[in-house]
Assembly symmetry: C2
Homo-oligomer: 182 residues x 2
DNA sequence: TGTTTTGTACCGATCGTTCGGTACTGAACT
DNA sequence: AGTTCAGTACCGAACGATCGGTACAAAACA
């Protein structure tokens, strides 16, 4: 069992409970490992665990969500494809985003930097698509920021209200909103 | 020193660090009280502290943000007034929303219920204004949900990117967006 | 006086972490 | 071939520190 084997379990824990909400006892139970074994795979302790988890999530996002945005095709259709992947990632609004969960909560400076770059990479990927579709860079940046705002906001509201429809409606409107007037 | 005296300090702690991120030692230091004094004012312990803090925040929101929405006047101007108050509450995007902070993080069922009602009350107040301005109830509900989505999302993104402009831009666009076509 | 408020000391539980050690593996040496 | 040996994966037990919470008596105030 390699270290990567347990990253999905860590991902579920941290996205739902945040850094402080997850104890090593939780992780040990979720992975089926003893606490001491966790330190074999993650010598840096809890910090290394959450950083590895963020890396795992970032890789998944880059591969399954952002990379398809760079392929050839109609911009709006590519964005609809992206929304499908996001809906899968967030289980139609029932699962929180690990970037959001770790953005709030206590300010861990090293974590904050990783989260920041994750958000920025997400925004940048959408902006590049919109620029390629003919939008000016200024508007493209603003629109893609708005996209992440809507995704994160609707996720939070859906979680807060115990109602996935705000998230689903946000995803439905997103592609057309981003491509309006192009 | 009454219990209310220390609620602003608790509010700052919980909104920034969340439930798990705040320890009784933190609270004792922030309030200048000893643990025994804290348990005198909040016999229910940490749970009562965070619930009292949510009550305090809810009262502030109802008085300074939601109640003005019910007064007479042009809908868009009332919403602009609301955005000014929100900008003050969130320090122009530099401070998180306690509802968001407590929505994410571990699932405490009792907390979740209070947060849920806080969000719902916020949405409801905006929807009532839009209905009074002539919008049909269905659209009013959706638009006010979108408003809270944008507020929470832009707050999260602004915090995550260390850049208050997404929040400020969201607030700027909010009133016109909500009143479009009325 | 009686009541409210506080400081001090303490509790059991849990936190993240470390230690010493076991079981198994595949390569290296004789 | 048999043996040694380094490396990987894992675990139980314990560490000091801190967690949320309590008991109680001195102090402050009425």
């Amino acid at each position: 069992m390699s270290r990567e084997t347990h990253l999905p379990a860590l991902f579920q824990l941290f996205r739902q409970q945040g850094y402080d909400g997850v104890s090593l006892a939780n992780i040990a139970q979720a992975t089926g490992l003893g606490k001491a074994s966790l330190y074999h795979h993650f010598p840096g302790g809890k910090d290394e665990m959450v950083l590895a988890t963020l890396g795992y999530a970032g890789d998944w996002l880059a591969l399954n969500v952002l990379q398809p945005l760079g392929e050839e095709g109609d911009a709006q259709e590519l964005l609809e494809e992206m929304c499908d992947r996001l809906s899968q990632l967030y289980d139609e609004g029932r699962q929180p985003c690990i970037l959001g969960t770790l953005t709030l909560g206590p300010v861990r400076d090293d974590l904050h930097e990783v989260v920041k770059q994750g958000l920025a990479r997400f925004i940048e990927a959408i902006a590049q698509l919109l620029i390629k579709a003919g939008l000016d860079p200024r508007s493209a940046q603003e629109r893609s920021e708005d996209a992440v705002v809507m995704i994160q906001g609707s996720l939070l509201v859906s979680r807060g209200l115990d109602d996935p429809t705000p998230f689903q409606r946000a995803l439905d409107q997103l592609p057309a909103k981003l491509c309006a007037g192009i």
